[in-house]
Symmetry: C2
Subunit: 262 residues, 2 copies
């Protein structure tokens, strides 16, 4: 899939700030896979136009001989979604969003304030994973998506009761797009020309990133030392997240603008 | 509104993990107001069952003589939403979600892994704010919701061009609910009884919180020192976010369980 892009369609075409649009498959999949909580939305009832919106865990992967990657969703799969996802021949129409905030962009006027961010949206159709082997594979994918190597360091495989109580949705990705904003503030000349405004208004970026704190043992934990894989995961995540937010902040806004394509 | 709760209805009733449900108005509003990116979803076209999902900035407040607080949304308001929000007599049906991840909860088995989190969902109807005074008031609310006192420390008021290009949606809140999970892992007795599993599996919580980094000045910034209000905002946010994630991690899971109210 390296270098592949999602086709631009009416459903996913970014119409504003086109230079922020990104259709790169690897970029979009990586954003979903490194965002610990995605939001999904779907219609629970065709007669009610207010969609349901829910936080869930999402991971994209390709199962065995599948021809393409799917997005696997784990979380509270209500009997409502289950019914919709099981009944619908073609699956339940669903949207999935993953957003990472990278910085608060502070400019001379409220109007030109912004965020540095990376945001991806998928549209697709969800069905319930019934195949036992695929379900275990997806549980492994989701667990290690939260903490690398966690599956291998817990009591597995899941027993029958656990298999019954776990529900995984598999989303066929029909459309996807992303948006990225990075760099410092971009004020209009009308304000940067005003010495009185520039001399008293601090402008720049406050980087924002997700931080993992020192692990806190449970009251029944018997493992004295924090395991290496966990310590290494926490350190790597923290180093990467902070670096990414700082790098985004230090870019010159608009310098990497792509030409609006159409 | 102190102590008030949202009514439980078919639309917002939490059916699973009832003990995690929270209908407290202050709690829900505070969660929306302290979450820098909310996700919204709505139907763009009644004939297309796949909802649109978008990241936006949301702040709840009560304008002047309004009888109740509304959720104001700022972000890229497409001509599509604008049309839907302007045309619909009763407003555009919309859902809004705010989620804060507080920790990765690591237990003995993948099945009982969880997150500490706080999540709120609102349902309501959105209209476009046309009144100029209310629009400026909402811009002030949203700007200071991102960084306290930022409005007072930038070039204001917005000029005519800025007023024209800024669009704010006002959502009448028709229903709302929240869910909270806190505490350490909660493994089943079948696993905590197994010495072989307990002796080799680290269990506990990795606290997660949003961190604001040291502000990075723009290439046209002329204010030598980071202003006091900004430094104080960054420090207060960081201290509070870390404390909250650690406190959630150190609670005993299930100790504060409310009785499931049916």
């Amino acid at each position: 899939m390296n270098g592949d892009t999602y086709p631009r369609t009416a459903a996913n075409k970014v119409n504003r700030y086109k230079e922020r649009a990104n259709y790169d498959v690897d970029f979009i999949h990586n954003l979903i896979n490194t965002t610990p909580v995605v939001h999904i939305s779907f219609l629970a009832d065709p007669s009610n136009p207010t969609p349901v919106i829910l936080p869930m865990i999402g991971q994209i992967g390709t199962y065995e001989h599948d021809e393409e990657p799917h997005c696997y969703l784990h979380g509270y799969v209500s009997s409502r979604i289950m019914r919709l996802g099981s009944n619908a021949e073609a699956g339940l129409p669903i949207s999935i969003a993953a957003t990472k905030l990278d910085g608060l962009v502070l400019s001379l006027t409220p109007n030109s304030h912004s965020y540095n961010y990376r945001s991806a949206v998928l549209q697709g159709s969800a069905t319930v994973v019934e195949d036992v082997n695929e379900k275990v594979w997806a549980m492994h994918l989701v667990t290690n998506g939260v903490v690398e190597q966690r599956w291998e360091n817990t009591r597995t495989p899941p027993d029958n009761v656990e298999m019954q109580s776990t529900r995984i949705l598999k989303v066929k990705i029909e459309s996807a797009s992303a948006k990225v904003r990075e760099g410092g503030p971009g004020d209009d000349k009308k304000d940067t020309d005003r010495g009185d405004v520039v001399s008293k208004t601090w402008t720049g970026v406050v980087p924002v990133y997700e931080r993992l704190g020192a692990p806190i043992a449970s009251n029944y934990n018997k493992v004295g030392k924090i395991p290496g894989y966990l310590k290494s995961f926490v350190d790597t995540q923290n180093e990467g997240a902070q670096r990414q937010a700082n790098e985004a902040a230090m870019k010159v806004y608009g310098a990497g603008k792509k030409k609006a394509d159409d």
